[in-house]
């Protein structure tokens, strides 16, 4: 079973005629990484929102096509249902900074999913160690620098071991050391069977995080497989 299947996805935000997505087909299997690049304003964030079921359930607009997450229609699933399967690191890390300390922030998603306190403590400590975040313990997430916030957002999104990790420009603010740790964590998850959907703009010369990734360019609402070379 594919983790994510999108077929013939079209979407225009309400009040606009422009099709941000104009017939997108994409499927991602277990243990597979897909890298989407393309110009800013090309629809990468919109595609991520579709994969996370936020579109069409929470955003108004003209949606058509078929979207399935873990074999279930995204419209029926909605974000609450999708939260079982998805870890979404948003472009704005501040959207997920609500708890008083970094540890509480990371634990939040596990608590919501009803995990045992002892298990939560172990998972939080584990992900903080792997991402080199020991120095952030006890800090107020809202008072961190934006790169540090991205790191906290990433830890919070992957701590429950989701089947699909969506990263929307989520590594762009990390320094080289932290970026390497984040990529190592993601690759380990992929090898453990998780699927990765990574949106990163092109042209920084800093991508190519996964040599094994399938690469696409999203431009004018259409997805084209990138020819390697």
């Amino acid at each position: 079973m594919s983790v994510l299947v999108l077929s013939g996805i079209k979407f225009a935000y309400s009040g606009s005629n422009r099709k941000v997505l104009d017939g997108v087909d994409l499927s991602i299997e277990k243990g597979e990484a897909v890298l989407i690049s393309g110009p800013s304003g090309g629809g990468k964030t919109t595609l991520c929102l579709v994969a996370a079921t936020i579109i069409p359930t929470r955003v108004q607009g003209d949606f058509s096509g078929m979207a399935e997450l873990m074999g279930q229609g995204t419209r029926k699933l909605g974000p609450s249902g999708a939260s079982e399967y998805v870890g979404y690191v948003m472009q704005e890390p501040e959207f997920s900074m609500i708890m008083p300390t970094v540890e509480d922030e990371i634990a939040f998603g596990l608590e919501n999913r009803g995990r045992e306190p002892a298990e939560v403590a172990v998972a939080v400590e584990g992900v903080m160690t792997r991402l080199g975040m020991e120095g952030l313990a006890g800090r107020d997430p809202r008072r961190l620098s934006s790169g540090e916030k991205q790191l906290v957002a990433m830890a919070s999104a992957v701590v429950h071991k989701p089947q699909l990790v969506i990263l929307d420009e989520a590594l762009s603010g990390l320094d080289d050391d932290k970026r390497a740790l984040a990529l190592a964590e993601l690759d380990a998850m992929r090898q453990g069977g998780a699927a990765l959907l990574i949106a990163e703009h092109a042209g920084t010369g800093r991508q190519a995080p996964f040599l094994s990734a399938r690469r696409y360019v999203l431009q004018d609402g259409r997805l084209a497989e990138e020819v390697s070379g």
């Binding site: 306190p117 403590a121 919070s156």
Partner: protein
């Protein structure tokens, strides 16, 4: 001392204080109430500098309302008159003083409440059997104002850096600038609030479902004390006033 007190005691304490602030009638009781609020701030481990700054920022608005109160409320003895018409009365002065104390107490309570984290607040409301929808709206509302304030600050800074000299600007131009900045700032703050609600849902925040707490909301001795203390203070207050 009790800065990490249970959010429920904080909510209870602010409920007591604000309702007393609205009901207060006697000058002595108002002073005592102000003292009690200060004591609560200290007890909850809040540096009084924060609320004081808020008060200073509110000062111009409070001054305008106070002046209106002084001029419009005419009761008691006339203190100042011109052309044989009483302008300032003791009743007016009293009303203005009460208004200042009330706003001060409510601002301090807002400060105590804003110290409670978003999720803690929701959890406390939930454990007090407040319907989730209402609790969530209240929490998002409480979150929205700081977001809007942040947006406004940055927008105004960028306006100043581009030559809008706000300090030396006339009041009309300043109001026009504020109104121009307010729209986009509100839009951004709203879309951020929307993003926060998406992120919450995607992280499994669904209050209907079973949830665990890796840190427990524990009612300790100091928390339980907040309740009888609040009730005693409230009873004494009612006796003194009526």
């Amino acid at each position: 001392m009790w800065s990490d007190m249970d959010p429920r005691s904080k909510i209870f304490a602010t409920l007591c204080l604000t309702s007393m602030a609205l009901l207060v009638r006697m000058p002595l009781a108002a002073l005592l109430l102000a003292a009690l609020t200060a004591a609560a701030l200290i007890a909850f481990g809040i540096d009084p500098k924060g609320p004081l700054k808020t008060l200073i920022r509110l000062a111009p608005a409070m001054l305008v309302v106070a002046v209106l109160q002084v001029l419009l409320v005419r009761s008691g003895r006339t203190v100042l008159s011109a052309f044989g018409i009483g302008i300032v009365t003791t009743g007016g002065l009293g009303a203005a003083a009460f208004m200042v104390v009330r706003v001060g107490i409510i601002a301090a309570c807002g400060y105590i409440l804003s110290g409670i984290g978003f999720a803690d607040f929701l959890l406390a409301m939930k454990s007090m059997k407040v319907p989730y929808e209402i609790a969530f709206m209240a929490a998002m509302g409480a979150k929205f104002l700081p977001l809007l304030a942040e947006e406004m600050t940055d927008s105004l800074t960028s306006a100043e850096l581009r030559g809008a000299d706000i300090k030396r600007m006339g009041i009309i131009r300043r109001l026009r600038l504020y109104s121009e900045v307010l729209m986009p700032a509100t839009f951004t703050a709203l879309s951020r609030a929307e993003g926060i609600s998406w992120a919450l849902e995607l992280r499994g925040f669904n209050p209907g479902a079973g949830r665990t707490y890796w840190r427990k909301l524990e009612m300790r001795m100091s928390d339980w004390m907040a309740f009888p203390l609040g009730i005693i203070a409230f009873a004494a207050f009612l006796l003194a006033n009526y």
